[in-house]
């Protein structure tokens, strides 16, 4: 056979590796800074470097810049060698690299400036989202083109995981980022409320799956046997855990939304699929750890294997903890606490960070042709990193469970033992210092790694791998036949697909039909499984062995596997949404409230405050009535949140008066000693651009929010009128000095057109189904006493009685009474029957 010598493109691997290390340190440093801010609020530097704006910088940097670049380096190095072909295009490789780094820089600039969609790990605004999609396609083309040029017919398990990564991330990113732009720096999600929550956590959970897990598993399958020089434990296990992992992972997203307003069926699917995910995840751990068997003695001397062994162990721990946390009752305790933060850092620091370090230490001598500069320092990095993780995770486990238990602790007659939220925060502050120490140790370890890699690179010179291969790519002769596509029609495939289809249909039917469908589907799956077993013949290639030889059918089947879960969970919710909007008792935000909501989004309030009250008596006692889907039906994006560093805000509307909010935003500690919330005095002067209000409403209307043309036309006027009224009210009550709307002078305490005024309008609206301002305006028209800021004298005695009555029921049955009332108050209030609607409103808000 004619052969030729090819050189691998290892230059691109070096670039991605160094970028990963650099951005890893930046991301971890951002993490250390926000950890400090949580323990010591003075570390917030307003407006750009507050916790709310820096937290997305940390998460995005670590996930997409550190792990993303690390995965690209690992994938490009191993793929070339596993398929015996140089990367298809040097140009595409370079576009991929520089494009990705530009995206990271754009993220690092735009997030502190407040350009955000405020969906976790998907905060970047739409122009950057488009860039991500384009660069991802470049990566995909480069990768699959390389597979087409391969000289190794069969695809190794690492490649399967890379294929799943590329497909799933493209799908997740594009769907979740769908938004309608208002301007270059602002857009509204096409999904609202419950749908948006479901899509976001379908994305968020699977960003963990397909950015932080599958590429790293592929990397494990290449680098661990390489470094250990031991065979991979089990091919069969890799087949089963690959397919079960990519199929099941997608369904597990709703475990982030247990006990929320998400429909129960979707919550249950999230929980049971998370439990079913345990074994597939551990399949990867077993295959990794058992590959090290017989090489354990090398662990003593080789830092690379130490990192891998601990990384895989943390993977096993985190993938056991994940299903545990997905059990509804465990989630009831752990959700919104630091237990979740401990869990993700067990994964990020333990699994991703350690695997990255192991891979870099293994790669650097091979990429520069000299031994690692300091093995002793790599060993030191290992120990200090491991210690850092244990301190970090241990501290936050303690903090999370402590706070979760304090939230639900009751006194002897059913009230809350820690009725003031801040008590539960102050109690865990020592743990926040401990986590800062742990995280800093880990960061220090990575600085040592950077030094070691750079010193090694300097002592050597860039070295590219070479190999003697046949001239013709294997694919030229294998890919053209039709046998591959015929594999897609094999009985195993269609029995599996129809079986899964029947079971999924069963979820949406009543008892008996549902049972029949589920059992029929399960039987069909069994039949497919039996066909697989029977079809196996000694000496002949199995179905899967044939599939591994065909890249295109393999890719198609993988895509079907990752597609199903999302279709079953998301489609029914999206289809149901227009009816839900039509029957909503909720009404759209007023223009000023919408502007205030955008300030809430911009400042990243969701990073510390939830807007989702779960059905627990201790939760409704603290925050008010259980959240309903209606509460967030016009919320684009939804702001349910995932962590409560401060209290839930779902029913904060009307809970305090404007003066309270004004003083609290200027200095939270004056109102709540011990609070760690940043101070926001600058909001009192930052202006809202009311010229854009109208186009914001118009965009919302395009998305299906029922604003009338008149409301849109008068949006700016309405927002300015309401803002004036709030500012004037504050002036009257506490004598602060006001700057007039549009005034060039900032010589005052509060601008009428400030972000703070808009934010107060929004805060007073959250959880109400009708704007309090509309109530007052209509009350004024019908001749009732004009409303003062404190509002006492505007209230008629009848209303007071209503409120007291609703409250009296609410005392013993806080949530139920109110939930019932809010359901009954179905008639959207009209402007002319102000008294009546006010009464209904009082009951509802209480």
């Amino acid at each position: 056979m004619e052969t030729t010598r090819i050189q691998y493109n290892d230059g691109i691997v070096r670039k991605f590796m160094m970028a990963s290390v650099a951005f890893g340190i930046v991301g971890m440093l951002a993490g250390a800074i926000i950890a400090l801010q949580l323990a010591w609020p003075n570390a917030n530097i307003a407006p750009y470097l507050t916790f709310g704006r820096l937290r997305p910088v940390h998460t995005n940097a670590v996930i997409f810049a550190f792990v993303g670049n690390m995965a690209f380096a690992g994938i490009y190095y191993s793929t070339q060698r596993l398929v015996k072909a140089r990367l298809a295009s040097d140009l595409l490789s370079n576009i991929h690299f520089w494009g990705w780094q530009l995206i990271i820089v754009a993220a690092a600039i735009s997030l502190p400036l407040g350009y955000t969609q405020s969906k976790e790990y998907a905060e970047l605004e739409w122009p950057i989202d488009i860039a991500i999609a384009v660069i991802w396609v470049v990566f995909a083309v480069n990768f699959f083109w390389t597979l087409k040029n391969r000289r190794e017919k069969h695809l190794y398990v690492a490649i399967w995981f890379y294929i799943a990564t590329i497909l799933a991330v493209a799908m997740l990113h594009i769907v979740n980022a769908l938004a309608l732009p208002v301007s270059l720096g602002k857009s509204y999600s096409v999904f609202a409320g419950v749908q948006d929550a479901l899509v976001q956590w379908w994305y968020g959970h699977n960003a963990v799956a397909f950015v932080l897990t599958t590429p790293i598993l592929g990397i494990m399958y290449y680098y661990v046997p390489k470094a250990a020089e031991r065979p991979v434990f089990s091919y069969r296990l890799s087949i089963i855990h690959f397919w079960s992992l990519v199929f099941i992972y997608i369904w597990a997203g709703p475990h982030h939304l247990l006990y929320t307003a998400l429909p129960d069926w979707a919550q249950t699917l999230g929980m049971i699929f998370s439990l079913m995910l345990w074994a597939p995840s551990w399949g990867g751990m077993i295959n990794g750890l058992l590959t090290l068997r017989g090489a354990w003695d090398k662990l003593r001397s080789d830092p690379v294997l130490k990192f891998f062994a601990v990384g895989i162990t943390f993977y096993g721990m985190a993938t056991f903890e994940g299903p545990l946390l997905s059990i509804k009752s465990v989630s009831g305790l752990a959700h919104y606490t630091d237990w979740i933060v401990a869990h993700v850092h067990g994964g990020a620091l333990g699994w991703n960070g350690m695997m990255a370090a192991g891979m870099f230490y293994w790669l650097i001598p091979r990429l520069y042709g000299v031994p690692l500069k300091s093995r002793a320092m790599a060993n030191f990095h290992f120990w200090i990193g491991t210690l850092g993780i244990l301190l970090y995770v241990g501290a936050l486990w303690t903090a999370g469970i402590t706070q979760g238990l304090m939230w639900r602790a009751e006194n002897e007659d059913g009230g809350l033992l820690y009725a003031s939220f801040v008590e539960t925060l102050v109690a865990i502050l020592p743990m926040y210092w401990m986590r800062l120490i742990g995280g800093s140790l880990y960061l220090f370890g990575f600085v040592l790694l950077a030094w070691n890699l750079i010193a090694t690179a300097r002592s050597g010179k860039p070295t590219d791998g070479e190999i003697e291969v046949p001239v013709l790519p294997e694919a030229e002769t294998t890919e053209k036949d039709r046998a591959g596509m015929r594999l897609l029609l094999a009985p195993q495939v269609w029995t599996a697909l129809i079986g899964i289809g029947l079971i999924a249909t069963g979820f949406f039917f009543e008892a008996i039909q549902s049972l029949i469908l589920i059992i029929a589907g399960s039987l069909l799956l069994l039949v497919g499984f039996l066909i697989l077993l029977i079809a196996r013949e000694e000496g002949k290639p199995t179905f899967h062995a044939k599939l591994e030889g065909k890249a295109a059918p393999f890719t198609i089947l993988t895509f079907i596997a990752v597609l199903i879960g999302g279709v079953v969970q998301i489609l029914p919710t999206v289809i149901a949404s227009p009816e839900a909007v039509a029957s909503a008792t909720n009404t759209p935000y007023t223009p000023l409230e919408l502007e205030g909501r955008d300030v809430y989004v911009k400042e990243g309030c969701y990073t510390c405050h939830s807007q989702m009250i779960r059905p627990f008596v201790w939760e409704t006692a603290r925050y008010g009535a259980v959240s309903t889907p209606d509460d967030s039906i016009f919320d684009r994006p939804f702001q349910w949140g995932s962590r409560r560093i401060g209290p839930d805000l779902q029913r904060v509307g009307g809970r305090y008066n404007d003066v309270w909010h004004y003083q609290h935003m200027l200095d939270p500690r004056e109102i709540t000693p011990g609070s760690t919330m940043p101070s926001y005095p600058h909001l009192a002067k930052h202006r809202v651009n009311f010229d854009r209000t109208e186009s914001k409403l118009r965009t919302m209307r395009t998305l299906g929010v029922p604003y009338t043309p008149e409301e849109i036309a008068s949006a700016q006027e309405s927002a300015m009128r309401d803002a004036k009224r709030i500012a004037r009210g504050l002036e009257e009550s506490i004598g602060i000095r006001i700057c007039e709307m549009g005034s060039p002078s900032d010589d005052c305490d509060l601008r009428e057109d400030s972000e703070l005024v808009a934010l107060i309008a929004y805060l007073q609206r959250i959880g109400k189904h009708r704007s309090p301002w509309l109530e007052e305006a209509s009350a004024g028209e019908t001749g009732a006493a004009p409303a003062a800021v404190e509002g006492e004298d505007a209230e008629t005695s009848a209303d007071a009685a209503d409120a007291a009555e609703a409250g009296a029921e609410g005392d013993e049955a806080p949530g139920a009474a109110e939930a019932a009332e809010s359901n009954e108050a179905a008639e959207p209030a009209k402007a002319d029957d102000a008294g009546e609607s006010e009464g209904a409103q009082e009951g509802e808000e209480n």
Binding site: P225, D264, A419, V617, W660, E792
Partner: protein, 183 residues
């Protein structure tokens, strides 16, 4: 020795870039966790959704709320006035006041964000039961939270007792609001 090596070689099913792949049996305990979780998922779904034997979160919550509502004693004007004379009761109320109320009503009850509690003018009624109910239910339109839910009835009664000791002390502060209360 050489035999073992032979046997090991026989287990290798693939080699990629020097990486050898064996095809060992799946660990039995691992298969049990896989099948066990699938079986559990099946029965969990049947229990909660197909046959609705067990309560989903909202139903469970409503039951608990109903059970709690069935308990609880009655609060009267006489009881509150009597309790306000007990030192322990008032001291307990003062503690709660200093934690939760002081921000808006001031350290001496002189008022700031909220009204003055030491004059004889009351917006929502100055009798003990009205004060108790105002604290318990709040005044949403004025930004006064309902404290009954988070604190519980006993604590609200204790704060009421403490507030009753301040009534009429006339600490200089916010100007009087509401109606004159005359016992």
């Amino acid at each position: 020795m050489s035999e073992i090596t032979e046997e090991k070689k026989a287990k290798i099913v693939h080699v990629y870039d020097g990486i050898e792949e064996e095809d060992n049996d799946l660990p039995r305990w691992w298969l049990f966790t896989l099948y066990g979780a699938i079986v559990f998922a099946f029965f969990y779904w049947l229990t909660f959704h197909t046959f609705e034997i067990a309560d989903l979160p909202m139903a469970a919550y409503n039951k608990e709320v109903a059970a709690r509502a069935a308990q609880g004693g009655e609060i009267t004007e006489e009881l509150l006035e009597a309790m306000a004379l007990l030192d322990d009761e008032v001291r307990a109320g003062e503690g709660i006041y200093n934690t939760h109320c002081v921000v808006c009503h001031g350290a001496q009850g002189e008022g700031s964000i909220g009204p003055n509690l030491t004059d004889n003018y009351w917006i929502h009624g100055g009798d003990a039961l009205s004060i108790f109910e105002t604290i318990r239910d709040g005044v949403p339109s004025a930004g006064m939270p309902n404290w009954g839910a988070p604190l519980g009835t006993t604590s609200v009664r204790q704060v009421t007792s403490f507030v009753l000791t301040m009534r009429g002390k006339e600490v200089p502060g916010k100007e009087p609001q509401g109606e004159l209360y005359q016992p």
